[in-house]
């Protein structure tokens, strides 16, 4: 099979999986087996694509051409390859975790949950392999729609309200800001194809370019750049595996991935620096990084704190894109991978704490480290990786991002990065510290046990990868390097 055939199957496999899963609602074990088999198959397919890609094979898969000159087409490029590896791998991990979590928590509508999860992965694959902005936009919207049922999973008033915020912000920004920008680009350049080095350099004036770039940064609401970040904390009502999907596997990553892709293949890094967009717009993610860290410090709800941490970390990636120099782009791309593995560990830990103790607030965790040592150790590993401490993978991406600011001569931004890392230490590492070394003598009931074993495995795998990525950040490093140049 050629590489285009594999690309097609990368999208069809989760979709077929979704159909099968939805038919197996009456036999939960079969249904879960179907999820795991589909996820494993997908990893196999992505691996094949990776091998083909490394051997230099390329190809374009055109599915339809709804508007003359604009097609729905797919192809592989380094950044997409990087994201595809992360998403397919973490889907399997999340599925293993989700099976334990959903059963342990006695959630309703589990079939709907696993079905829509698979559809969301299919949509993500569409984003990953999209060959032009129209295709990207199509699957971007499909991802929003397919994750909506997951956000409102519990069906309570609060969940529905969050669902409204989720859908309203994500679809609203994409239609009001991103779509006009796409159409303007189409009219100005006559194409929407992703081309290395960008397509806009000759056809758009600098002032217009800055405006359009701003429309993309804000219009891609999934990247949660302030002030369009509210949907992410709102979506924390969803079950923990969904949070993992949102924060690590697919949704927010699809957002920053889209921004990186637009930067690399539509505007072109050189064109962005020549317009001066980098010096202006960089303050948007920089402000978000700082504010998100400050807000995270005030949050007592664990999931909310993690949500604001994600908002801050996403803006690191956006920052890397806006810096638009090779080092910054490398750091940003790398951070997609590093943050994904670290954040999924944190969310699994939060879910494990919820399942085991039914506690949601940080202030209730005093002294829990004695009952749940593994959970909190994993939490500490994830935190350290996000902060960027060695020996964890997160260090590399922070390193290159910092180098990128130095290359650009943006000393103030460098200071903000460092300050934010300090704040990360305070609001993230404080949690395991509190658990192991309680400041006050809280009464802990004796019958709290360590989290279920599937949850622990779910945490163990990504935290081990966090360590491994410090020692050997492959294949992500070479892919990110390839993309950034």
């Amino acid at each position: 099979m050629s590489i285009t055939g594999y690309i097609m199957w990368a999208m069809l496999t989760p979709l077929l999986g979704a159909v099968i899963i939805s038919r197996l609602g009456r036999w939960p074990n079969m249904r879960e087996a179907a999820t795991l088999i589909t996820a494993t198959t997908l990893i196999g397919i992505i691996y094949r694509i990776y091998r083909r890609f490394q051997s230099g094979e390329a190809g374009e898969l055109v599915v339809a051409e709804p508007i003359p000159g604009l097609s729905i087409a797919f192809s592989v490029e380094p950044l997409g390859m990087l994201f595809a590896i992360i998403a397919s791998f973490l889907w399997l991990v999340t599925s293993i975790y989700a099976i334990g979590y959903m059963r342990g928590h006695h959630e309703k509508n589990q079939t709907r949950f696993f079905t829509t999860f698979a559809i969301a992965i299919a949509a993500t694959m569409g984003i990953i392999f999209s060959d032009n902005l129209l295709t990207l936009f199509l699957f971007y919207e499909l991802l929003t729609l397919s994750t909506y049922p997951l956000v409102v999973h519990s069906g309570t008033d609060k969940a529905r309200h969050s669902g409204r915020v989720y859908l309203g912000v994500l679809m609203g920004t994409s239609i009001v800001l991103m779509l006009p920008a796409i159409i303007v680009i189409q009219t100005q350049t006559g194409t929407l194809d992703f081309t290395a080095g960008g397509i806009m350099a000759d056809s758009v004036s600098p002032a217009w370019a800055i405006t359009l770039y701003l429309l993309f940064i804000l219009g891609i609401g999934k990247a949660a750049v302030m002030p369009l970040h509210k949907w992410l904390p709102a979506a924390m009502v969803a079950p923990t595996p969904v949070s993992a999907l949102l924060h690590a596997v697919a949704v927010v990553k699809a957002g920053v991935f889209s921004i990186l892709k637009v930067t690399l293949y539509i505007f072109g890094p050189d064109f962005i620096t020549s317009t001066g967009a980098d010096t202006w717009l960089i303050w948007l993610p920089a402000t978000t990084i700082l504010l998100a860290s400050l807000i995270a410090m005030t949050c007592d709800n664990l999931k909310e704190r993690l949500a604001y941490s994600t908002i801050g970390q996403l803006s690191y990636i956006v920052l890397g894109a806006v810096l638009a120099n090779p080092t910054g782009l490398l750091g940003g791309s790398l951070h997609i991978a590093m943050h994904a593995f670290a954040k999924i560990t944190l969310f699994f830990a939060a879910g494990a704490i919820l399942v085991a103790t039914h506690k949601t607030q940080v202030s209730q965790l005093n002294g829990l480290g004695r009952q749940m040592p593994f959970t909190f150790i994993f939490f500490a590993i994830g935190s350290a990786s996000i902060i960027g401490l060695p020996p964890f993978g997160g260090m590399w991406s922070k390193w290159y991002l910092a180098l990128g600011t130095v290359d650009a001569g943006q000393w103030a931004i460098l200071a903000i990065l460092m300050l934010s890392s300090l704040l990360n230490i305070i609001y993230l590492l404080a949690i395991p510290v509190r658990a192991f070394f309680p400041t006050t003598n809280h009464h802990i009931s004796e019958n709290i046990k360590e989290a279920p074993i599937t949850c622990l495995i779910g945490m163990l795998i990504p935290s081990l990868i966090c360590i491994y990525l410090f020692l050997n950040p492959e294949p992500f490093y070479s892919l990110a390097r390839l993309a950034a140049q």
């Binding site: 709804p66 199509l138 669902g163 409204r164 679809m171 609203g172 239609i175 779509l179 159409i183």
Partner: protein, 494 residues
């Protein structure tokens, strides 16, 4: 032989069938006639469209009398597309009627219902095909009178007052249109559209022409429910039987919008509109309609008025597209007319299934029904997403062309209005979807066996699938719209 005469056959056939239908004793036999006529018209209209897309214009003179004395039918891409839209919607609604008419209309009234349905259908077809401006008036009145009768057959007694209100306003509109025709005739001595176009541009009676144009526009704007002449529409759509709502939503306002486009582009030429700043007026009215319709739609508590107000919002899009006065703008309008006909008819049909299942269309009393009626609900989702303009659906194609047309002219405030309208559509569509699927079922209903009735679900799903398919393969709608624009001799896209 038939090929050449199919233009007039499409109008004559329903006209002859209507009295026959009315005289038949039972509903089923008249349904069979309606179905046959509709299917024949659909085939003929597709044939005509095929001819027109391949580049040949059809010119047909009634009784062999040459214009400007006789009546001539001029078929270009514009009319051919309208005829196809009307025939498709008419045929599918006729299938739907197999179930819905016996459910809503007493047995002894059914033949009369079908007769009125045929008359309404032929009136709309005639309006869109004729090349004679007085003929437009005649067909307008035929379709309007039939519509009043159809709306008045609604279950609630409010249907009577809604229809009467529509009758008064509709007749005033038609009379205004007639005055406009008279003045145009006084200034030029011609009633043939092509002939009028030439003579109007040569005429020196500037004031008469201004007045004529004003009256013609106001008359048609009433029929098309252009803001602020839209008051009759929500009530009429709400209280009409669901069969009628589905048919009207797909056709009637669109034909009137087509006539406005025809007046602006063929008869009075775009230059005339530009000189009189009429295009600005159209765009402003359209923009207000887009926002106002969407706001009112959000506030509705029942499905039918929600869809009706959303239609008003869409009519605003048509007016904006015409007002842009460019080839792309006209293309966008025609594509949107076609696409919106598919979308709204699907939605009204799906709403009908909900009504027959639960006996109610109040949104609150339908909560959770989507889970019990997956087929209907899926159709609502597809059409709803189309209405928003999500890519991959037909709605996206029309929004794309509309925004493209606005960007071409650097009309940024129009772009803002367009995207704002779409964003507001998310709210009212999602209100529906959320209640239908994600809220717990409040009232016990026996679960969905009605949605498996083939007569209901087949037309609904045919349209729903078309919403997706034509969103990916736009050969038909865009092709026809391009043919329309080319035949008008407008500059094609840069």
């Amino acid at each position: 032989m038939v090929g050449q005469h199919s233009v007039i056959l499409m109008v004559v056939l329903p006209l002859l069938a209507a009295p026959v239908t009315a005289l038949l004793p039972g509903g089923r036999s008249s349904w069979a006639i309606v179905m046959t006529v509709m299917a024949l018209c659909l085939i003929m209209s597709l044939g005509i469209l095929g001819d027109v897309i391949s580049g040949s214009l059809i010119h047909y003179e009634l009784g062999g009398w040459a214009p400007p004395w006789g009546i001539a039918y001029e078929i270009d891409g514009l009319n051919a597309l309208m005829a196809v839209i009307i025939s498709i919607v008419g045929t599918l609604v006729a299938i739907y009627a197999w179930y819905s008419v016996p459910a809503d209309i007493p047995e002894n009234k059914q033949p009369l219902f079908y007769a009125a349905y045929l008359l309404c259908f032929l009136g709309l077809l005639g309006m869109s095909m004729t090349g004679d401006i007085f003929n437009v008036f005649v067909f307008l009145e035929i379709s309007s009178l039939a519509t009043y009768a159809l709306v008045g057959m609604g279950r609630n007694r409010q249907a009577l007052t809604a229809s009467f209100q529509y009758l008064i306003l509709g007749t005033i509109g038609a009379t205004f249109f007639l005055i406009g025709i008279g003045l145009a005739y006084a200034a030029t001595g011609s009633l043939n559209m092509a002939d009028l176009a030439i003579r109007l541009s040569e005429s020196t009676h500037v004031q008469t022409i201004h007045t004529a144009f004003g009256f013609i526009f106001i008359g048609m704007a009433l029929k098309a429910a252009v803001f602020p002449l839209h008051q009759w529409l929500p009530r009429a759509y709400t209280y009409a039987p669901i069969t009628v709502s589905a048919f009207l939503a797909g056709t009637s306002t669109k034909v009137a919008a087509y006539v406005i486009a025809r007046m602006v582009f063929t008869v009075f030429t775009p230059e005339y509109s530009r000189q009189t700043l009429f295009n600005e007026l159209l765009m402003v009215l359209g923009a207000i309609a887009v926002i106002h319709g969407a706001v009112r739609s959000i506030g509705q508590t029942s499905i039918k008025p929600l869809l009706a107000w959303s239609s008003l919002s869409q009519i605003g899009y048509f007016m904006i597209g015409i007002g842009l006065l460019s080839a792309t703008g006209l293309m966008a309008t025609m594509i949107h007319i076609f696409n919106h006909a598919l979308i709204k008819t699907t939605l009204f049909m799906a709403a009908g299934i909900l009504l027959y299942q639960t006996g109610s269309l109040r949104i609150a009393s339908l909560s959770g029904m989507g889970r019990h009626m997956p087929l209907t609900f899926a159709a609502i989702i597809i059409a709803g997403l189309s209405l928003i303009g999500v890519p991959g659906t037909v709605g996206f194609i029309s929004k794309w062309y509309l925004v493209l047309a606005a960007v071409e002219q650097q009309a940024w405030w129009i772009v803002a209005v367009l995207v704002l309208g779409s964003a507001m559509a998310i709210i009212y569509v999602w209100k529906l979807i959320e209640t239908l699927y994600f809220q717990p079922t409040t009232e016990p209903h026996d679960t969905g066996h009605i949605e498996r009735t083939p007569a209901l679900i087949i037309p609904t799903w045919t349209l729903a699938i078309a919403c997706i398919y034509l969103g990916l393969d736009t050969g038909i709608s865009v092709g026809a719209a391009e043919a329309a624009v080319n035949s008008l001799g407008l500059l094609s896209r840069p």
